[in-house]
Protein backbone atom coordinates (compact mmCIF):
# COMPACT_ATOMS: atom_id res chain seq x y z
CA UNK A 1 0.00 0.00 0.00
CA UNK A 2 2.69 2.43 1.08
CA UNK A 3 4.87 1.53 -1.83
CA UNK A 4 2.07 2.11 -4.25
CA UNK A 5 1.36 5.49 -2.78
CA UNK A 6 4.99 6.45 -2.96
CA UNK A 7 5.16 5.38 -6.56
CA UNK A 8 2.11 7.47 -7.27
CA UNK A 9 3.67 10.51 -5.68
CA UNK A 10 6.84 10.10 -7.74
CA UNK A 11 4.77 9.62 -10.87
CA UNK A 12 2.79 12.72 -10.14
CA UNK A 13 6.01 14.66 -9.68
CA UNK A 14 7.39 13.45 -12.99
CA UNK A 15 4.16 14.32 -14.70
CA UNK A 16 4.18 17.79 -13.24
CA UNK A 17 7.75 18.40 -14.33
CA UNK A 18 7.00 17.11 -17.82
CA UNK A 19 3.94 19.32 -17.98
CA UNK A 20 5.90 22.38 -17.02
CA UNK A 21 8.61 21.69 -19.57
CA UNK A 22 6.21 21.17 -22.46
CA UNK A 23 4.08 24.13 -21.44
CA UNK A 24 7.11 26.39 -21.15
CA UNK A 25 8.30 25.47 -24.62
CA UNK A 26 4.86 26.03 -26.11
CA UNK A 27 4.35 29.26 -24.22
CA UNK A 28 7.67 30.53 -25.46
CA UNK A 29 6.76 29.70 -29.06
CA UNK A 30 3.32 31.25 -28.77
CA UNK A 31 4.38 34.44 -27.04
CA UNK A 32 7.51 34.86 -29.08
CA UNK A 33 5.53 35.75 -32.19
CA UNK A 34 3.54 38.27 -30.24
CA UNK A 35 6.72 39.70 -28.95
CA UNK A 36 8.21 40.32 -32.40
CA UNK A 37 4.90 41.68 -33.58
CA UNK A 38 5.02 44.22 -30.78
CA UNK A 39 8.69 44.91 -31.39
CA UNK A 40 8.05 45.53 -35.05
CA UNK A 41 5.31 48.01 -34.26
CA UNK A 42 7.92 50.07 -32.43
CA UNK A 43 10.40 50.07 -35.30
CA UNK A 44 11.01 52.32 -38.27
CA UNK A 45 10.05 51.17 -41.72
CA UNK A 46 13.60 50.88 -43.05
CA UNK A 47 14.74 48.86 -40.04
CA UNK A 48 11.89 46.39 -40.44
CA UNK A 49 12.75 45.96 -44.11
CA UNK A 50 16.24 44.89 -43.15
CA UNK A 51 15.01 42.04 -41.01
CA UNK A 52 14.55 40.76 -37.52
CA UNK A 53 15.38 42.47 -34.27
CA UNK A 54 14.75 41.41 -30.69
CA UNK A 55 15.20 44.91 -29.35
CA UNK A 56 12.38 47.45 -29.55
CA UNK A 57 12.83 50.50 -31.74
CA UNK A 58 12.02 54.06 -30.79
CA UNK A 59 9.17 54.63 -33.24
CA UNK A 60 6.25 53.38 -31.15
CA UNK A 61 4.64 56.78 -30.77
CA UNK A 62 5.51 57.83 -34.27
CA UNK A 63 3.87 54.74 -35.77
CA UNK A 64 0.85 55.17 -33.54
CA UNK A 65 0.43 58.81 -34.50
CA UNK A 66 0.96 57.99 -38.17
CA UNK A 67 -1.75 55.35 -38.10
CA UNK A 68 -4.18 57.47 -36.10
CA UNK A 69 -3.70 60.52 -38.32
CA UNK A 70 -3.97 58.74 -41.63
CA UNK A 71 -7.23 59.91 -43.17
CA UNK A 72 -7.16 56.88 -45.47
CA UNK A 73 -7.24 54.51 -42.54
CA UNK A 74 -10.31 55.37 -40.50
CA UNK A 75 -9.22 53.13 -37.70
CA UNK A 76 -12.11 53.68 -35.32
CA UNK A 77 -14.59 52.98 -38.07
CA UNK A 78 -12.55 49.92 -38.88
CA UNK A 79 -12.68 48.59 -35.33
CA UNK A 80 -16.41 49.29 -35.07
CA UNK A 81 -17.13 47.66 -38.41
CA UNK A 82 -15.07 44.61 -37.52
CA UNK A 83 -16.78 44.34 -34.15
CA UNK A 84 -20.25 44.53 -35.71
CA UNK A 85 -19.53 42.02 -38.46
CA UNK A 86 -17.64 39.55 -36.27
CA UNK A 87 -20.06 39.67 -33.33
CA UNK A 88 -23.12 39.10 -35.48
CA UNK A 89 -21.38 36.42 -37.50
CA UNK A 90 -20.29 34.62 -34.31
CA UNK A 91 -23.69 34.84 -32.61
CA UNK A 92 -25.67 33.83 -35.68
CA UNK A 93 -23.44 30.93 -36.63
CA UNK A 94 -23.42 29.56 -33.09
CA UNK A 95 -27.11 29.93 -32.37
CA UNK A 96 -28.37 28.64 -35.69
CA UNK A 97 -25.83 25.85 -35.89
CA UNK A 98 -26.87 24.67 -32.45
CA UNK A 99 -30.50 24.96 -33.50
CA UNK A 100 -29.90 22.99 -36.68
CA UNK A 101 -27.86 20.40 -34.83
CA UNK A 102 -30.55 20.04 -32.22
CA UNK A 103 -33.18 19.73 -34.91
CA UNK A 104 -31.31 16.81 -36.40
CA UNK A 105 -30.22 15.32 -33.10
CA UNK A 106 -33.44 15.36 -31.11
CA UNK A 107 -36.15 14.84 -33.68
CA UNK A 108 -37.02 12.06 -35.96
CA UNK A 109 -38.37 12.95 -39.35
CA UNK A 110 -38.35 11.74 -42.89
CA UNK A 111 -35.73 14.06 -44.30
CA UNK A 112 -33.45 13.83 -41.29
CA UNK A 113 -30.90 11.55 -42.81
CA UNK A 114 -30.76 13.31 -46.20
CA UNK A 115 -30.49 16.66 -44.43
CA UNK A 116 -27.57 15.46 -42.33
CA UNK A 117 -25.78 13.97 -45.31
CA UNK A 118 -26.39 17.15 -47.30
CA UNK A 119 -24.78 19.36 -44.66
CA UNK A 120 -21.82 17.00 -44.40
CA UNK A 121 -21.40 17.22 -48.16
CA UNK A 122 -21.26 21.00 -48.17
CA UNK A 123 -18.75 20.76 -45.39
CA UNK A 124 -16.50 18.78 -47.71
CA UNK A 125 -17.03 20.97 -50.77
CA UNK A 126 -14.19 23.40 -51.47
CA UNK A 127 -15.68 26.88 -51.66
CA UNK A 128 -12.80 28.70 -53.34
CA UNK A 129 -14.36 28.70 -56.75
CA UNK A 130 -17.68 30.16 -55.76
CA UNK A 131 -16.32 33.40 -54.27
CA UNK A 132 -16.71 35.42 -57.44
CA UNK A 133 -20.10 33.87 -58.14
CA UNK A 134 -21.04 34.97 -54.65
CA UNK A 135 -19.99 38.53 -55.45
CA UNK A 136 -22.15 38.55 -58.57
CA UNK A 137 -25.07 37.14 -56.60
CA UNK A 138 -25.00 39.74 -53.87
CA UNK A 139 -24.60 42.49 -56.46
CA UNK A 140 -27.82 41.26 -58.04
CA UNK A 141 -29.46 41.29 -54.61
CA UNK A 142 -28.25 44.87 -54.16
CA UNK A 143 -26.31 43.93 -51.08
CA UNK A 144 -22.86 45.01 -52.22
CA UNK A 145 -21.09 47.44 -49.94
CA UNK A 146 -23.28 46.38 -46.97
CA UNK A 147 -22.57 44.11 -44.02
CA UNK A 148 -25.39 41.67 -44.79
CA UNK A 149 -23.42 39.38 -47.13
CA UNK A 150 -20.74 39.13 -44.45
CA UNK A 151 -23.13 38.36 -41.61
CA UNK A 152 -26.17 36.48 -42.90
CA UNK A 153 -24.42 33.55 -44.62
CA UNK A 154 -22.92 32.53 -41.27
CA UNK A 155 -26.33 31.15 -40.33
CA UNK A 156 -25.40 28.21 -42.55
CA UNK A 157 -22.00 27.18 -41.19
CA UNK A 158 -21.60 23.44 -41.75
CA UNK A 159 -18.46 23.00 -39.65
CA UNK A 160 -20.02 24.73 -36.65
CA UNK A 161 -23.10 22.61 -37.11
CA UNK A 162 -21.04 19.44 -37.16
CA UNK A 163 -19.25 20.45 -33.98
CA UNK A 164 -22.53 21.19 -32.20
CA UNK A 165 -23.92 17.89 -33.37
CA UNK A 166 -20.90 15.96 -32.14
CA UNK A 167 -21.00 17.78 -28.86
CA UNK A 168 -24.65 16.90 -28.37
CA UNK A 169 -23.78 13.28 -29.04
CA UNK A 170 -21.27 13.27 -26.26
CA UNK A 171 -22.90 15.61 -23.75
CA UNK A 172 -26.62 16.04 -24.26
CA UNK A 173 -28.72 13.20 -22.85
CA UNK A 174 -32.19 13.11 -24.32
CA UNK A 175 -33.56 12.38 -20.86
CA UNK A 176 -33.04 16.02 -19.94
CA UNK A 177 -35.09 17.11 -22.90
CA UNK A 178 -37.84 14.70 -22.01
CA UNK A 179 -37.91 15.96 -18.48
CA UNK A 180 -38.47 19.44 -19.80
CA UNK A 181 -41.23 18.20 -22.08
CA UNK A 182 -42.96 16.57 -19.17
CA UNK A 183 -42.78 19.90 -17.42
CA UNK A 184 -44.80 21.24 -20.31
CA UNK A 185 -42.20 23.43 -21.93
CA UNK A 186 -42.61 23.91 -25.64
CA UNK A 187 -39.82 22.88 -27.96
CA UNK A 188 -38.33 26.34 -28.43
CA UNK A 189 -38.24 26.94 -24.71
CA UNK A 190 -36.68 23.57 -24.15
CA UNK A 191 -33.98 24.44 -26.62
CA UNK A 192 -33.32 27.89 -25.23
CA UNK A 193 -33.51 27.13 -21.53
CA UNK A 194 -32.36 23.51 -21.27
CA UNK A 195 -30.22 22.71 -24.28
CA UNK A 196 -28.35 25.98 -24.74
CA UNK A 197 -27.00 26.10 -21.16
CA UNK A 198 -25.61 22.60 -21.56
CA UNK A 199 -24.07 23.67 -24.84
CA UNK A 200 -22.34 26.67 -23.29
CA UNK A 201 -18.77 25.37 -23.57
CA UNK A 202 -19.40 24.33 -27.15
CA UNK A 203 -21.03 27.65 -27.95
CA UNK A 204 -18.15 29.55 -26.38
CA UNK A 205 -15.59 27.54 -28.35
CA UNK A 206 -17.29 28.06 -31.67
CA UNK A 207 -18.11 31.69 -30.89
CA UNK A 208 -14.42 32.37 -30.38
CA UNK A 209 -13.45 30.58 -33.58
CA UNK A 210 -16.18 32.22 -35.60
CA UNK A 211 -15.38 35.62 -34.18
CA UNK A 212 -11.67 35.31 -34.84
CA UNK A 213 -11.99 33.97 -38.35
CA UNK A 214 -14.47 36.67 -39.23
CA UNK A 215 -12.25 39.28 -37.60
CA UNK A 216 -9.24 38.20 -39.65
CA UNK A 217 -11.15 37.60 -42.85
CA UNK A 218 -9.93 39.61 -45.78
CA UNK A 219 -10.96 38.03 -49.06
CA UNK A 220 -14.76 38.19 -48.98
CA UNK A 221 -15.07 41.54 -47.14
CA UNK A 222 -12.59 43.06 -49.57
CA UNK A 223 -14.72 41.90 -52.48
CA UNK A 224 -17.93 43.16 -50.90
CA UNK A 225 -17.03 46.47 -49.25
CA UNK A 226 -15.88 49.54 -51.16
CA UNK A 227 -16.69 52.60 -49.08
CA UNK A 228 -13.71 53.56 -46.98
CA UNK A 229 -15.77 54.06 -43.82
CA UNK A 230 -17.39 50.65 -44.11
CA UNK A 231 -14.15 48.70 -44.43
CA UNK A 232 -13.07 46.20 -41.82
CA UNK A 233 -9.63 46.10 -40.22
CA UNK A 234 -7.96 43.53 -42.50
CA UNK A 235 -8.89 45.64 -45.52
CA UNK A 236 -7.39 48.70 -43.88
CA UNK A 237 -4.21 46.75 -43.19
CA UNK A 238 -4.17 45.66 -46.81
CA UNK A 239 -4.63 49.24 -47.97
CA UNK A 240 -1.60 50.26 -45.93
CA UNK A 241 0.30 47.48 -47.62
CA UNK A 242 -0.68 48.59 -51.07
CA UNK A 243 0.22 52.22 -50.44
CA UNK A 244 2.52 53.89 -52.94
CA UNK A 245 6.22 54.02 -52.26
CA UNK A 246 6.02 57.45 -50.67
CA UNK A 247 3.52 56.32 -48.08
CA UNK A 248 4.54 52.69 -47.70
CA UNK A 249 5.51 52.15 -44.10
CA UNK A 250 5.85 48.71 -42.52
CA UNK A 251 5.96 50.31 -39.09
CA UNK A 252 2.40 51.48 -39.65
CA UNK A 253 1.38 48.08 -40.98
CA UNK A 254 2.67 46.31 -37.86
CA UNK A 255 1.14 48.95 -35.62
CA UNK A 256 -2.27 48.41 -37.18
CA UNK A 257 -1.89 44.63 -36.96
CA UNK A 258 -1.09 45.00 -33.28
CA UNK A 259 -4.04 47.31 -32.72
CA UNK A 260 -6.28 44.85 -34.53
CA UNK A 261 -5.27 42.03 -32.21
CA UNK A 262 -6.12 43.77 -28.95
CA UNK A 263 -9.93 43.51 -29.23
CA UNK A 264 -9.86 39.79 -30.07
CA UNK A 265 -7.65 39.07 -27.09
CA UNK A 266 -10.34 40.63 -24.93
CA UNK A 267 -13.08 38.67 -26.62
CA UNK A 268 -11.08 35.51 -26.20
CA UNK A 269 -10.41 36.02 -22.52
CA UNK A 270 -14.05 36.89 -21.99
CA UNK A 271 -15.39 33.83 -23.78
CA UNK A 272 -12.72 31.42 -22.63
CA UNK A 273 -14.13 31.74 -19.10
CA UNK A 274 -17.04 29.61 -20.23
CA UNK A 275 -14.75 26.91 -21.51
CA UNK A 276 -12.41 27.06 -18.59
CA UNK A 277 -15.08 26.96 -15.96
CA UNK A 278 -16.97 24.41 -17.94
CA UNK A 279 -20.67 24.08 -17.52
CA UNK A 280 -20.93 20.51 -16.46
CA UNK A 281 -23.98 18.38 -16.47
CA UNK A 282 -23.99 18.44 -12.74
CA UNK A 283 -24.49 22.16 -12.92
CA UNK A 284 -27.83 21.98 -14.62
CA UNK A 285 -29.51 19.32 -12.59
CA UNK A 286 -31.78 21.93 -11.00
Amino acid sequence: MNKRKQREITEAKIRTVAAYILLSVLTFLCLFFFYILLINSTREHVDIQKGFSAIPGAALLKNLVNVANDANVPIFNGITNSLIVSSFAAVLSCYFSALTAYGLYAYDFKLKKPAFIFIMLILVMPTQVSALGFLRLITKMNMEDTFFPLILPSIAAPSVFYFMYSYMQSSLPMSLVEASRIDGANEFRTFNSIVLPIMKPAMAVQAIFAFVSSWNNYFIPALVLSTQKKKTLPILIASLRSADFLKFDMGKVYMLITIAIVPIIFVYILLSKFIVEGVTLGGVKE
Partner: protein, 346 residues
Protein backbone atom coordinates in the same frame (compact mmCIF):
# COMPACT_ATOMS: atom_id res chain seq x y z
CA UNK B 1 -24.49 8.50 -40.79
CA UNK B 2 -26.67 6.32 -38.60
CA UNK B 3 -25.07 7.77 -35.59
CA UNK B 4 -27.94 10.06 -34.64
CA UNK B 5 -30.38 7.21 -34.39
CA UNK B 6 -28.03 5.07 -32.44
CA UNK B 7 -27.49 7.76 -29.87
CA UNK B 8 -31.15 8.24 -29.38
CA UNK B 9 -31.44 4.51 -29.05
CA UNK B 10 -28.80 4.59 -26.35
CA UNK B 11 -30.57 7.34 -24.55
CA UNK B 12 -33.83 5.46 -24.69
CA UNK B 13 -32.27 2.53 -22.89
CA UNK B 14 -32.58 4.51 -19.69
CA UNK B 15 -34.92 2.44 -17.63
CA UNK B 16 -36.59 5.36 -15.91
CA UNK B 17 -37.74 6.95 -19.08
CA UNK B 18 -40.54 4.79 -20.20
CA UNK B 19 -42.05 7.74 -21.94
CA UNK B 20 -39.24 8.17 -24.39
CA UNK B 21 -38.96 4.50 -25.03
CA UNK B 22 -42.59 4.51 -25.93
CA UNK B 23 -42.00 7.11 -28.57
CA UNK B 24 -39.15 5.14 -30.01
CA UNK B 25 -40.54 1.64 -29.85
CA UNK B 26 -44.29 1.64 -29.87
CA UNK B 27 -45.29 2.12 -33.45
CA UNK B 28 -48.62 3.64 -32.69
CA UNK B 29 -47.37 6.18 -30.23
CA UNK B 30 -44.37 6.87 -32.36
CA UNK B 31 -46.52 7.72 -35.31
CA UNK B 32 -48.70 10.03 -33.35
CA UNK B 33 -45.81 11.70 -31.54
CA UNK B 34 -43.65 11.82 -34.60
CA UNK B 35 -46.14 13.99 -36.38
CA UNK B 36 -46.16 16.55 -33.64
CA UNK B 37 -42.38 16.50 -33.06
CA UNK B 38 -41.05 16.09 -36.57
CA UNK B 39 -42.59 19.42 -37.39
CA UNK B 40 -40.11 20.95 -34.96
CA UNK B 41 -37.24 19.17 -36.62
CA UNK B 42 -38.11 20.86 -39.89
CA UNK B 43 -38.59 24.22 -38.22
CA UNK B 44 -35.26 24.02 -36.46
CA UNK B 45 -33.26 23.19 -39.54
CA UNK B 46 -35.13 25.60 -41.79
CA UNK B 47 -32.99 28.75 -41.23
CA UNK B 48 -29.84 26.84 -42.13
CA UNK B 49 -31.21 25.49 -45.37
CA UNK B 50 -32.90 28.74 -46.30
CA UNK B 51 -29.70 30.71 -45.83
CA UNK B 52 -27.75 28.13 -47.73
CA UNK B 53 -30.23 28.22 -50.59
CA UNK B 54 -30.13 32.02 -50.79
CA UNK B 55 -26.39 32.60 -50.54
CA UNK B 56 -24.53 29.46 -51.47
CA UNK B 57 -26.58 27.22 -53.68
CA UNK B 58 -26.27 29.10 -56.95
CA UNK B 59 -22.50 29.75 -56.76
CA UNK B 60 -21.89 26.15 -55.66
CA UNK B 61 -24.19 24.70 -58.29
CA UNK B 62 -22.52 26.69 -61.02
CA UNK B 63 -19.16 25.35 -59.87
CA UNK B 64 -20.27 21.83 -60.69
CA UNK B 65 -22.15 22.89 -63.80
CA UNK B 66 -19.23 24.75 -65.38
CA UNK B 67 -16.85 21.86 -64.76
CA UNK B 68 -18.27 20.43 -68.00
CA UNK B 69 -17.62 23.62 -69.95
CA UNK B 70 -14.73 25.45 -71.50
CA UNK B 71 -15.13 28.77 -69.75
CA UNK B 72 -12.40 31.25 -68.95
CA UNK B 73 -11.34 34.80 -69.47
CA UNK B 74 -8.69 35.97 -71.81
CA UNK B 75 -8.04 39.47 -70.53
CA UNK B 76 -11.51 40.94 -70.26
CA UNK B 77 -12.94 38.71 -72.94
CA UNK B 78 -14.97 35.74 -71.84
CA UNK B 79 -14.19 32.55 -73.70
CA UNK B 80 -17.12 30.17 -73.63
CA UNK B 81 -19.00 28.71 -71.93
CA UNK B 82 -18.83 25.90 -74.45
CA UNK B 83 -19.93 22.43 -73.43
CA UNK B 84 -16.96 20.07 -73.58
CA UNK B 85 -18.20 17.07 -71.63
CA UNK B 86 -15.46 15.47 -69.53
CA UNK B 87 -12.66 17.25 -71.36
CA UNK B 88 -11.67 19.30 -68.29
CA UNK B 89 -11.45 16.16 -66.19
CA UNK B 90 -9.33 14.49 -68.83
CA UNK B 91 -6.98 17.47 -68.96
CA UNK B 92 -6.85 17.53 -65.19
CA UNK B 93 -5.61 13.96 -64.93
CA UNK B 94 -2.93 14.65 -67.52
CA UNK B 95 -1.43 17.29 -65.23
CA UNK B 96 0.62 16.79 -62.09
CA UNK B 97 -2.47 16.48 -59.94
CA UNK B 98 -1.30 13.30 -58.13
CA UNK B 99 1.86 15.16 -57.18
CA UNK B 100 -0.15 18.00 -55.66
CA UNK B 101 -2.35 15.51 -53.81
CA UNK B 102 0.78 13.93 -52.41
CA UNK B 103 2.14 17.33 -51.35
CA UNK B 104 -1.12 18.20 -49.65
CA UNK B 105 -1.21 14.93 -47.79
CA UNK B 106 2.40 15.22 -46.63
CA UNK B 107 1.91 18.79 -45.45
CA UNK B 108 -1.24 17.85 -43.59
CA UNK B 109 0.27 14.83 -41.83
CA UNK B 110 3.41 16.79 -40.88
CA UNK B 111 1.27 19.33 -39.08
CA UNK B 112 -1.55 17.14 -37.83
CA UNK B 113 0.41 14.44 -35.99
CA UNK B 114 2.12 16.80 -33.55
CA UNK B 115 -1.05 18.85 -33.35
CA UNK B 116 -3.37 16.06 -32.23
CA UNK B 117 -0.77 14.57 -29.88
CA UNK B 118 0.01 17.82 -28.12
CA UNK B 119 -3.64 18.83 -28.03
CA UNK B 120 -4.77 15.57 -26.45
CA UNK B 121 -2.04 15.77 -23.84
CA UNK B 122 -2.81 19.38 -23.02
CA UNK B 123 -6.55 18.82 -22.91
CA UNK B 124 -6.03 15.93 -20.51
CA UNK B 125 -3.72 17.96 -18.29
CA UNK B 126 -5.83 21.08 -18.26
CA UNK B 127 -8.95 19.18 -17.27
CA UNK B 128 -7.27 16.92 -14.74
CA UNK B 129 -8.16 18.23 -11.31
CA UNK B 130 -5.50 16.03 -9.75
CA UNK B 131 -2.66 17.55 -11.74
CA UNK B 132 -1.73 20.80 -10.12
CA UNK B 133 -0.15 23.19 -12.57
CA UNK B 134 0.33 26.75 -11.49
CA UNK B 135 -0.94 29.28 -14.00
CA UNK B 136 -3.21 26.84 -15.81
CA UNK B 137 -5.42 29.75 -16.74
CA UNK B 138 -2.47 31.61 -18.21
CA UNK B 139 -1.39 28.66 -20.34
CA UNK B 140 -4.91 28.15 -21.60
CA UNK B 141 -5.00 31.69 -22.88
CA UNK B 142 -1.51 31.61 -24.31
CA UNK B 143 -1.86 28.48 -26.45
CA UNK B 144 -4.65 30.00 -28.48
CA UNK B 145 -2.91 33.28 -29.12
CA UNK B 146 -1.06 32.39 -32.35
CA UNK B 147 -4.44 31.83 -33.94
CA UNK B 148 -5.34 35.46 -33.28
CA UNK B 149 -2.58 36.65 -35.60
CA UNK B 150 -3.64 36.83 -39.21
CA UNK B 151 -1.97 34.18 -41.33
CA UNK B 152 -0.42 36.87 -43.47
CA UNK B 153 1.07 38.71 -40.51
CA UNK B 154 2.26 35.41 -39.08
CA UNK B 155 4.06 34.50 -42.25
CA UNK B 156 5.68 37.92 -42.42
CA UNK B 157 7.20 37.08 -39.03
CA UNK B 158 8.23 33.62 -40.23
CA UNK B 159 9.96 35.18 -43.21
CA UNK B 160 11.95 37.45 -40.94
CA UNK B 161 12.88 34.64 -38.55
CA UNK B 162 13.89 32.02 -41.09
CA UNK B 163 15.38 34.16 -43.82
CA UNK B 164 18.94 33.53 -44.98
CA UNK B 165 20.18 36.34 -42.76
CA UNK B 166 17.54 35.83 -40.07
CA UNK B 167 18.08 35.07 -36.37
CA UNK B 168 17.54 31.31 -36.69
CA UNK B 169 20.30 31.05 -39.25
CA UNK B 170 22.62 33.35 -37.34
CA UNK B 171 22.09 31.21 -34.27
CA UNK B 172 22.72 27.96 -36.15
CA UNK B 173 25.89 29.32 -37.72
CA UNK B 174 27.20 31.14 -34.65
CA UNK B 175 26.73 28.11 -32.43
CA UNK B 176 28.62 25.98 -34.92
CA UNK B 177 25.73 23.65 -35.73
CA UNK B 178 25.88 24.67 -39.37
CA UNK B 179 28.81 26.00 -41.33
CA UNK B 180 26.68 28.19 -43.58
CA UNK B 181 23.05 29.36 -43.43
CA UNK B 182 20.34 26.81 -44.24
CA UNK B 183 18.16 28.43 -46.88
CA UNK B 184 14.83 27.22 -45.52
CA UNK B 185 12.59 28.46 -48.29
CA UNK B 186 14.87 27.20 -51.04
CA UNK B 187 14.91 23.63 -49.76
CA UNK B 188 12.08 21.14 -50.19
CA UNK B 189 11.95 19.93 -46.60
CA UNK B 190 12.85 23.31 -45.21
CA UNK B 191 9.79 24.80 -46.85
CA UNK B 192 7.53 21.90 -45.95
CA UNK B 193 8.80 21.97 -42.40
CA UNK B 194 8.04 25.66 -42.05
CA UNK B 195 4.55 25.25 -43.47
CA UNK B 196 3.84 22.38 -41.09
CA UNK B 197 5.22 24.26 -38.08
CA UNK B 198 3.17 27.30 -38.90
CA UNK B 199 0.04 25.22 -39.25
CA UNK B 200 0.82 23.45 -36.04
CA UNK B 201 1.41 26.66 -34.11
CA UNK B 202 -1.68 28.31 -35.50
CA UNK B 203 -4.04 25.44 -34.89
CA UNK B 204 -2.96 23.33 -31.91
CA UNK B 205 -4.59 25.85 -29.58
CA UNK B 206 -7.92 25.46 -31.35
CA UNK B 207 -7.78 21.70 -31.16
CA UNK B 208 -6.86 21.82 -27.50
CA UNK B 209 -9.77 24.11 -26.75
CA UNK B 210 -12.20 21.91 -28.63
CA UNK B 211 -10.99 18.81 -26.83
CA UNK B 212 -11.07 20.63 -23.50
CA UNK B 213 -14.65 21.66 -24.10
CA UNK B 214 -15.44 18.07 -24.91
CA UNK B 215 -13.83 16.79 -21.72
CA UNK B 216 -15.65 19.48 -19.76
CA UNK B 217 -18.88 18.10 -21.12
CA UNK B 218 -18.22 14.72 -19.49
CA UNK B 219 -20.16 14.24 -16.31
CA UNK B 220 -17.71 14.87 -13.45
CA UNK B 221 -19.24 12.02 -11.46
CA UNK B 222 -17.60 9.66 -13.93
CA UNK B 223 -14.20 10.98 -12.95
CA UNK B 224 -15.10 10.90 -9.29
CA UNK B 225 -16.21 7.31 -9.62
CA UNK B 226 -13.01 6.43 -11.45
CA UNK B 227 -10.94 8.03 -8.74
CA UNK B 228 -12.81 6.16 -6.05
CA UNK B 229 -12.20 2.95 -7.94
CA UNK B 230 -8.47 3.71 -7.86
CA UNK B 231 -7.99 4.35 -11.54
CA UNK B 232 -4.69 6.01 -12.36
CA UNK B 233 -4.32 8.85 -14.86
CA UNK B 234 -3.67 6.57 -17.77
CA UNK B 235 -6.68 4.40 -17.02
CA UNK B 236 -8.92 7.38 -16.51
CA UNK B 237 -7.74 8.89 -19.78
CA UNK B 238 -8.18 5.77 -21.85
CA UNK B 239 -11.30 4.41 -20.24
CA UNK B 240 -13.25 7.49 -19.28
CA UNK B 241 -12.00 10.49 -21.21
CA UNK B 242 -11.33 9.03 -24.65
CA UNK B 243 -14.53 7.01 -25.07
CA UNK B 244 -16.65 9.89 -23.89
CA UNK B 245 -15.20 12.46 -26.25
CA UNK B 246 -15.20 10.13 -29.22
CA UNK B 247 -17.76 12.05 -31.28
CA UNK B 248 -15.68 15.20 -30.84
CA UNK B 249 -12.50 13.28 -31.68
CA UNK B 250 -14.11 12.10 -34.89
CA UNK B 251 -15.10 15.70 -35.49
CA UNK B 252 -11.53 16.87 -34.94
CA UNK B 253 -10.17 14.22 -37.23
CA UNK B 254 -12.61 14.83 -40.05
CA UNK B 255 -12.53 18.62 -39.99
CA UNK B 256 -8.74 18.53 -39.74
CA UNK B 257 -8.61 16.30 -42.73
CA UNK B 258 -10.92 18.54 -44.70
CA UNK B 259 -8.96 21.58 -43.55
CA UNK B 260 -5.74 19.80 -44.50
CA UNK B 261 -6.96 18.78 -47.94
CA UNK B 262 -8.13 22.33 -48.49
CA UNK B 263 -4.92 23.79 -47.10
CA UNK B 264 -4.21 27.04 -48.82
CA UNK B 265 -3.34 30.25 -47.02
CA UNK B 266 -0.16 29.26 -45.21
CA UNK B 267 1.71 27.62 -48.12
CA UNK B 268 0.32 30.24 -50.50
CA UNK B 269 1.73 33.12 -48.51
CA UNK B 270 4.91 31.42 -47.40
CA UNK B 271 5.91 30.42 -50.92
CA UNK B 272 4.45 33.53 -52.52
CA UNK B 273 2.01 31.39 -54.48
CA UNK B 274 4.72 29.41 -56.23
CA UNK B 275 4.43 26.22 -54.20
CA UNK B 276 8.19 26.08 -54.53
CA UNK B 277 10.76 24.79 -54.70
CA UNK B 278 9.92 22.89 -57.87
CA UNK B 279 6.22 22.83 -56.94
CA UNK B 280 6.83 20.49 -54.03
CA UNK B 281 4.70 22.61 -51.70
CA UNK B 282 1.90 23.15 -54.17
CA UNK B 283 -1.33 22.03 -52.53
CA UNK B 284 -4.50 21.19 -54.39
CA UNK B 285 -6.28 24.42 -53.50
CA UNK B 286 -3.21 26.43 -54.50
CA UNK B 287 -3.41 24.66 -57.83
CA UNK B 288 -7.09 25.50 -57.98
CA UNK B 289 -6.26 29.11 -57.21
CA UNK B 290 -3.95 29.19 -60.23
CA UNK B 291 -6.92 28.51 -62.46
CA UNK B 292 -8.93 31.20 -60.78
CA UNK B 293 -6.54 33.91 -61.90
CA UNK B 294 -7.62 33.35 -65.46
CA UNK B 295 -11.20 32.87 -64.24
CA UNK B 296 -10.95 29.37 -65.64
CA UNK B 297 -14.24 28.20 -64.18
CA UNK B 298 -14.12 25.05 -66.28
CA UNK B 299 -10.85 23.67 -64.93
CA UNK B 300 -11.36 25.11 -61.46
CA UNK B 301 -14.81 23.54 -61.32
CA UNK B 302 -13.51 20.15 -62.41
CA UNK B 303 -10.75 20.33 -59.83
CA UNK B 304 -13.27 21.24 -57.13
CA UNK B 305 -15.41 18.27 -57.99
CA UNK B 306 -12.44 15.89 -57.91
CA UNK B 307 -11.29 17.35 -54.62
CA UNK B 308 -14.80 17.01 -53.29
CA UNK B 309 -15.02 13.35 -54.23
CA UNK B 310 -11.60 12.52 -52.79
CA UNK B 311 -12.45 14.36 -49.61
CA UNK B 312 -15.88 12.75 -49.28
CA UNK B 313 -14.44 9.24 -49.73
CA UNK B 314 -11.73 9.85 -47.14
CA UNK B 315 -14.22 11.30 -44.69
CA UNK B 316 -16.62 8.41 -45.11
CA UNK B 317 -13.75 6.01 -44.58
CA UNK B 318 -12.66 7.76 -41.40
CA UNK B 319 -16.19 8.14 -40.15
CA UNK B 320 -17.03 4.49 -40.53
CA UNK B 321 -13.71 3.08 -39.38
CA UNK B 322 -13.91 5.14 -36.22
CA UNK B 323 -17.49 4.14 -35.73
CA UNK B 324 -16.83 0.42 -36.05
CA UNK B 325 -14.05 0.79 -33.51
CA UNK B 326 -16.63 2.26 -31.24
CA UNK B 327 -18.99 -0.61 -31.85
CA UNK B 328 -16.35 -3.06 -30.69
CA UNK B 329 -16.77 -1.69 -27.20
CA UNK B 330 -20.47 -1.01 -27.00
CA UNK B 331 -20.80 -2.27 -23.48
CA UNK B 332 -18.43 0.22 -22.01
CA UNK B 333 -20.14 3.02 -23.81
CA UNK B 334 -23.55 1.99 -22.65
CA UNK B 335 -22.48 1.75 -19.05
CA UNK B 336 -21.01 5.22 -19.17
CA UNK B 337 -24.20 6.50 -20.64
CA UNK B 338 -26.31 4.89 -17.97
CA UNK B 339 -24.21 6.31 -15.21
CA UNK B 340 -24.40 9.64 -16.90
CA UNK B 341 -28.11 9.60 -17.37
CA UNK B 342 -28.87 8.38 -13.89
CA UNK B 343 -26.67 11.07 -12.47
CA UNK B 344 -28.25 13.76 -14.55
CA UNK B 345 -31.66 12.91 -13.31
CA UNK B 346 -30.87 12.53 -9.67
Amino acid sequence: MTKGYEEIGVASSTPKKEFWREIMTSKETAKRKKVSYSKWGYIFILPFFLTFAIFQLIPLGSTIYYSFFEYYRSGLKEIGPTFVGLENYKTLFETDLPKYMGNTFILWILGFLPQITVSLILAAWFTDARLRIKGKQFFKVVIYMPNLIMASAFSMLFFALFSDIGPVNSFLVDSGILSKPYRFLSEVWGTRGLIASMNFLMWFGNTTIILMAAVMGINPSLFEAAELDGCNHKQTFFHITLPNIKPILVYVFITSMIGGLQMFDVPQILTDGTGGPDRTSMTMIMYLNKHLFSRNYGMAGALSVVLFIVCAILCLFVYFSMNSEENSAPKKKRIDRDVLNTKAES
